[in-house]
Subunit: 194 residues, 2 copies
DNA sequence: CGTCTATTTGAATGTACTCAAAAGCGGTGG
DNA sequence: CCACCGCTTTTGAGTACATTCAAATAGACG
């Protein structure tokens, strides 16, 4: 499995020499995973940060009525985890599942701590990741409060153009927070004009 | 203005000696602010982290129809900022306003960087703060997707018991994402029994 | 006491949901 | 290659949740 992409991902924020690169890569656990495969099951502790080398993941919760709610998608070059569980050590509230066959790199919490110790720059790297997630989560909350479903969908299209034709529509519906039925009607009303 | 509370806040995550405490406090700018006062105006760059020594703040955005949407409240002992602006240096999307007369400590970005340099432990402190915000924001997104307005309100009551009788109801309505009119009907239907 | 703002109430409307059923689509095995 | 199965998407009717607009009522403060 080719680690070029993850090294490039890191190089965007911090600079590593050859030895550091090597050490970092030695901490990763590569994993191939097929569509529908569960990477993390809600209720279990999430002890890995997951990097998506290619493929697509989704994370979701299941409410008391058994309805799934998609929290986020992770396309190529994204990191994913149930951060609540990851930070607190408590059982995860989210499930992480493969949407499109994927090559992943797993970085365990233990290895991550080791990494911080040996190459403190990585503190900075992951801090920046977290900062960015926080900002984008906040923006999502704002959109949720401000925008009707239609506009949230349009925004989604702009933001994840590569995902629109890859994801089942019902996943997009769930992400936006509407039923698949309503989503279908909404999209067809958009196409027809207005 | 008494800095005991902010020192206790920090002591929850990192340990400081007397000299470090003194240095930290020297970087803070105390500020008294009255109800309705704007601490940060959307459109301007947010270059301070704001600690609420007492009183209450709110942050909100204004949509294209001029409707306010409350992103978060900061009661006593909380930190607040427009993190998008703070991290990126771009104009803020949120406005921060005083809800109850407040005593604040402002920590400028410059001073915060100085702090990181002189007392690296603070990197850890603020990283933990950000991690916690991220987790709670994610939980809010999940609630938004999963729960009807009624249950979101009940959850809000449990989570911020001290705020319920302090905040104007229309602020809580806005935070939850409903109109004040609907909120009023919803609450009275809850009181009457189901 | 009067003014300003927050809250409540009501009627009409719109947005989104539920349930049921039909239609589409992709893969698999005969 | 076609028929069937399982799953996704669409369609429609009826319903529930939430909004808008207008107006009345209640509170807070000078």
């Amino acid at each position: 499995m080719n680690p070029d992409s993850i090294l490039k991902n890191i190089a965007r924020h911090i600079t590593l020499d050859e030895q550091e690169k090597y050490f970092f890569l030695s901490l990763l656990q590569p994993k191939h995973a097929k569509r529908k495969e569960i990477i993390l099951q809600a209720g279990f502790v999430n002890s890995d940060s997951i990097y998506v080398n290619n493929g697509v993941l989704r994370s979701f919760t299941v409410d008391e009525n058994g309805v799934e709610h998609i929290v986020s998608f992770a396309p190529q070059d994204w990191w994913m985890a149930d951060l609540y569980s990851y930070f607190s050590g408590q059982p995860a509230v989210q499930t992480i599942e493969v949407v499109e066959d994927a090559e992943l790199f797993l970085l365990s919490r233990t290895h991550q701590d080791l990494l911080y110790e040996r190459i403190p720059k990585f503190e900075r790297f992951f801090r920046i990741l977290i900062e960015k997630s926080l900002v984008s989560n906040q923006q999502r909350i704002i959109d949720n409060l401000s925008l009707p479903a239609k506009e949230q969908y349009l925004k989604f299209c702009k933001r994840y153009p590569t995902l629109i034709n890859v994801l089942p529509r019902k996943y997009i519906a769930s992400y936006i927070g509407v039923t698949p039925e309503f989503f279908s009607k909404m999209v067809s009303s958009l196409v027809k004009g207005k």
